[in-house]
């Protein structure tokens, strides 16, 4: 469902729920918050942080975002210590938590769990990742990073590299960028290529799409190179994983083939697909990208809690 322009009380569950106007508005608000911090904006508000599965960046950056706005955080990082272990349904857990808090941030390994929770709750629910499905705040911070580091989305060429079959960050970012007039290159071995459903959707929207497995050949085209990890946990067969795990690696040799102005992004964690020797180079913006989680998540919390417009 496409959402309306007002964010107050809204759930943030899927990038598919965002219009172009929504995206641009949220990025604008994040930019304003970064320039002018609002340490008392959410004073008296409580965020329930329900992390049913492990997370480092997302959990910490949501908590930091809430604290930096003057709010407070309750919650858990291990469902094993809660009534869920006793068999409590997600519906009941949500009904209980909404009585204690003003906004729920949820990560769950089961796909669709945050949407169910949003149906149970009268307060906003923000999806912090549900299995292989959605991670909308990651996509929003990716967009924010691109806008901040590169500028306009229109006319940009982005190269997605690595595991494009299972990588939810790639799927969601491609959906979000499909609202703009950019070109997309998908670089992956055949077994890990972008699903056809996404390619068809992008072409229908008039996006120029190129698919290849040749990173060296395509590198010169990119304004943004979005690198992803080959995810071991997605491979039922460890031998298959061994075959693909090192198929692409961004190093100085690849960087030389790219435009000098290229920006290298990665949703992190990385396991070897980017040479750490690139970390201090100005093209490497993946740590800035992770840091951008703060203004973006601050904007989301401020907007859904009705304290920002």
């Amino acid at each position: 469902m496409m959402v309306s322009s007002s964010f107050k009380g809204r759930d943030v569950l899927s990038i598919n729920d965002f219009s172009r106007e929504d995206l641009l508005h949220l990025l604008k608000v994040a930019g304003e918050l970064e320039k002018k911090p609002r340490p008392d904006l959410l004073k008296g508000k409580i965020m329930a942080s329900l992390f049913f599965e492990p997370s480092t960046r997302t959990k910490l950056s949501f908590a930091a975002s809430m604290l930096k706005l003057g709010g407070q955080v309750i919650g858990f990082a291990d469902a094993g210590t809660t009534s869920v272990k006793k068999g409590e349904t997600l519906w009941d857990t949500t009904r209980m938590v909404e009585a204690y808090s003003d906004v729920i941030v949820m990560r769950h390994s089961v796909e669709g769990a945050p949407r169910l929770s949003a149906e149970a709750a009268s307060i906003p629910v923000v999806n912090a990742g549900d299995g292989a499905n959605q991670h909308p705040t990651q996509t929003l911070l990716d967009l924010y990073t691109i806008q901040k580091e590169h500028g306009d989305f229109d006319g940009m060429t982005i190269g997605f590299v690595g595991d494009l079959k299972y990588g939810r960050t790639v799927h969601s970012l491609a959906v979000a960028l499909s609202h703009f007039k950019c070109s997309m290159h998908f670089v992956a071995p055949n077994a890990l290529k972008m699903p056809d459903s996404y390619i068809s959707m992008l072409k229908e929207k008039g996006i120029v799409v190129t698919e290849t497995d040749d990173l060296e050949g395509a590198a010169k085209e990119f304004d943004v190179l979005y690198m992803t990890r080959i995810q071991e946990e997605r491979f039922p067969d460890p031998i298959e994983y061994q075959k693909y795990k090192s198929v692409y690696r961004i190093d100085k040799k690849i960087l030389k083939l790219c435009k000098e102005s290229v920006k290298i992004m990665h949703p992190l964690p990385r396991v070897g697909e980017i040479d750490p020797a690139l970390d201090e180079m100005e093209q490497a913006i993946y740590f800035k990208q992770a840091a951008n989680g703060i203004p973006v998540r601050q904007a989301i919390l401020g907007l859904v809690l009705g304290k920002l417009e």
Partner: protein
């Protein structure tokens, strides 16, 4: 009698579902729970059809399908036609139409969907471009017609 005559008795009152693709007929039977029907039900399959090659026909005496059931048949057999019979005549003939959303009777194909883990009624949006597709409102996974399983 010509060889084209169907050997399936006319009914006085009830519903005839025609133009069901032959391979779908027993899914429709199961879905409508016709194995538990109290009145007469005739099922014919592998009948010749210009449109479908081989088709099936179901005649259900004394029962009119609800509009929800008609929508649901549309998922299984979008080609089907439904005739309401009164006094041996076709009182109403209608093509099945796909609803925009279906609730509760199809399972999501994704084993890691919340609807397969907790007591939640399923919900799908229906798309019918380049073949029928159902998109789960919870896990957002799309499934094609072959993957549709009735709860």
């Amino acid at each position: 009698m010509s060889g084209k005559t169907l050997r399936i008795a006319a009914i006085k009152e009830g519903t005839v579902i025609d133009h069901i693709p032959a391979e779908k007929i027993f899914s429709v039977v199961r879905f409508l729970k016709l194995d538990k029907a109290s009145g007469p039900v005739s099922v014919a399959t592998n009948l010749m059809s210009k449109l479908l090659g081989k088709k099936g026909v179901i005649k259900i005496s004394g029962r009119e399908l609800t509009s929800v059931e008609v929508e649901e048949i549309a998922l299984l057999a979008p080609e089907a036609t439904i005739n309401i019979i009164k006094e041996y005549d076709v009182a109403q003939k209608r093509q099945v139409t796909l609803p925009k959303q279906i609730k509760g009777f199809v399972c999501c194909m994704n084993p890691n969907c919340i609807t397969n883990k907790q007591p939640v009624s399923t919900r799908f949006s229906v798309k019918n471009q380049d073949g029928l597709k159902l998109k789960c409102s919870y896990c957002e996974r799309e499934m094609g017609q072959r993957q549709i399983r009735i709860i």
